[in-house]
């Protein structure tokens, strides 16, 4: 066997070993998609087959109209975009400020920020709820978005801080020489350079907000019309029984948009992470 054939054979053996592993890995997801097209009878007692015998769209209809997934999708888009905007706004300005070399107490601030990462949401939910309610945002998605965005800020702040620290000081000085103030330098010079980090943070937080459960659950308990998709899924669990096929269809409605968004933006995501690590 020549050297080239040996390489091809070795690669194929690896493929042969890895393909079944990949199938096992994606099987639950594919099964969920397949279950969304099955009848309850086929799903519950029909075994593990992936191809529905009697394919139906009834589960999607039920999820979209009866379970109000149309409304929940609009709410989720609103909630996720609000979270992304809040995180980008706060994290980029905070990261920019923290990246400046002479900032007094910088180490303490960064230390506190990092320490807050280890506080579970469950411990802070009551004061957060009281605070958001107190400022009159308890009955809308903006309040929930604020509560979601707050604890999500630490990693983005550090990413922006790392990125801005790596930008040569001369660039800022040149902007100042041209008459730009602090805010204009940030907005016109530094932020456009941070596009890869902006993309990464936006994507990470969009996915996080889209899939969020705990915060939207607590903030929409008293107002079910505000539910997001993650919380809406809960509605398929009855007291004694669960509408599993409806739940599978709802899961498809919830997951597929965010998978599509990720596929479109994965390059930005990789570039952003790589850029932040390099800087």
């Amino acid at each position: 066997m020549t050297g080239r054939w040996r390489v091809v054979a070795r690669r194929n053996i690896w493929h042969l070993l890895l393909i079944p592993l990949c199938l096992v890995w994606v099987y639950p997801f594919v099964w969920m998609v397949s279950a969304a097209f099955k009848t309850p009878r086929e799903m519950l007692i029909g075994g593990l087959s992936l191809m529905p015998n009697d394919a139906t769209l009834e589960n999607f209809r039920r999820a979209w109209t009866t379970a109000k997934f149309g409304t929940y999708t609009a709410n989720t888009i609103t909630f996720s975009i609000a979270v992304v905007i809040l995180v980008l706004l706060v994290a980029s300005t905070a990261g920019y400020a923290l990246a400046r070399p002479g900032l007094p107490g910088k180490k303490i601030l960064v230390g506190i920020l990092i320490a807050t990462m280890f506080i579970p949401h469950g411990y802070t939910i009551i004061p957060t709820f009281v605070l958001v309610n107190g400022i009159g945002l308890g009955n809308g998605l903006l309040g929930a978005a604020l509560a979601q965005a707050g604890p999500a800020l630490v990693v983005p702040v550090l990413l922006f801080m790392g990125f801005f620290s790596g930008i040569p000081k001369e660039l800022e000085e040149a902007a100042r020489m041209d008459g730009a103030g602090y805010l204009r330098t940030y907005w016109r010079v530094m932020l456009p350079l941070a596009k890869p980090v902006l993309g990464t943070v936006a994507l990470m937080n969009f996915i996080g907000a889209w899939n969020a459960f705990f915060i939207p659950l607590v903030f929409t308990l008293g107002n079910p019309d505000l539910r997001t998709l993650g919380v809406g899924m809960y509605g398929f669990y009855g007291q004694d029984t669960t509408d599993w096929t409806g739940l599978a269809a709802a899961a498809c409605i919830s997951v597929i948009p965010v998978v599509v968004v990720f596929l479109f933006l994965q390059r930005t995501f990789v570039e952003g992470i790589a850029g932040a690590v390099k800087s």
């Binding site: 007692i45 039920r62 709410n75 609103t78 903006l142 669990y237 004694d240 930005t268």
Partner: protein, 482 residues
Amino acid sequence: MKIRPALTAFTCAVALALSGCNLVGGSPDSGDATGKVTVTVALVPDPPGASQFYRQQFDEFEKANPGITVKVLENPSDQQLNAVELMFQQNNAPDVFRAQDDGMDRMAARGWVAPLDEFVTPDFLKQFPEGSMDPATSGLHRDGKLMSLPLVWGPWSTLRVFLYNEDLLKKSGFDGPPKTWTELEQMATKVSADGKGKYFGYSPTAAKAVGVEMLADTAVPYSVPATGIDYRTGKPATSSPGLVEAVELHRRMQAAKVMMPGWESWDGSRAFKEFAAGRLAMYPTPPWHVAEVRKLAPEIKMGITGLPVPAAGRGAYLPITKSFSPLWSMSAKSTHKAESWKVMDFLASEAFHNAYYKKFGTLTALESAWKADAEKNPDQAAILKVAQESMRRAPNPALATAGGRAMTDALAANPDLKHTDAAFSSIIKNQPFAPAAAKLDKDLQTYLDKTSADLTAKGKEASAKDLTFSGWDPLKDYTPGG
């Protein structure tokens, strides 16, 4: 990759516009420009499909009551109480809400439940089966006041039936279901052996010792498996021979690999799926499994009968501890009580109950709404027959005295003193249950004494006496105060 600010801004604007004012929110509405009163009803869209049903029903109600609009708020069943509590705390309480069983007490304890007596008329009460709205036994009254209205048929919550697959039993040469525990063990052993791993003879309904509790209810007073206390004496009785034998029966079958493998991790709905798939021949269950099996496997030859009893004969009947379970309550903070009552009156009407029965097959609190139809339905007729043959009215300390309620609440708050964990451990580890039961009885007695002392110190009169109904015969109907 380039980020286009204009496109991004446009997408954001469209998305935010999609959900209108949901971003900032608005104040809760209680009326509209036409002068209509809005009654908010917080409910659970259960069973699946109930969302549409409730909306259709309230549309009918609105047509008949043009001055009232019903706004429905739906919550998942295990979040309903939290959601309603939160709404009360935000001064945004629903007018009518669903709070089942202990949930109603939880709400009433905070002063959020309005008594309904001022609205109730003799004609309204006449709809319910005779005697069922007596404050001593209704299950809906607290301190003599009517605090809730029911939805589901009273015996439903404590009735247990025994399901069997006629075809699988026939394959092993059996013509009918087991009548006694001994027959159950013999038949299950034979069926599992014949099934050769494809199907099994028996399984408890779910993990823990739910099956034990169901069978034990035919041997000892219901209070023993439920709380560990024998209400005839007011003393701990986990080591009663009937309960011990129910555990031992399961332990033997588990050790002999007669029971379906994996039952140790089943949730409450797994058994009906296995039964519908033809992998399980027999099991004891709450009655709602019957309709679920039929939905999944309409063609299955399912037999429905009473639970097998000890070989020495029945020692007790399944209990009817209250006529109904609480379900619909009115908010004490409602500013539209008269309109809210109209909604509640509708939810307790024969028309609504009949529609609910027709949609979900549930036997509801108003027997007149479904009895004739149910008797023509073989499954439901069998359930009614089992109920008639195997249930008797039993004492309920929580309804009898305030001390009884305090003591039962205290017992419920300490589930470690129930037999459940010890029995389950005994079955899966193949260890005798009697020593664990004797220890539980000792601990229970200590707990009862301490609870009684603590309550007395707080000025509440409560003791084991409140758990004692010395004249009660668990083989006969109990008459409160009789």
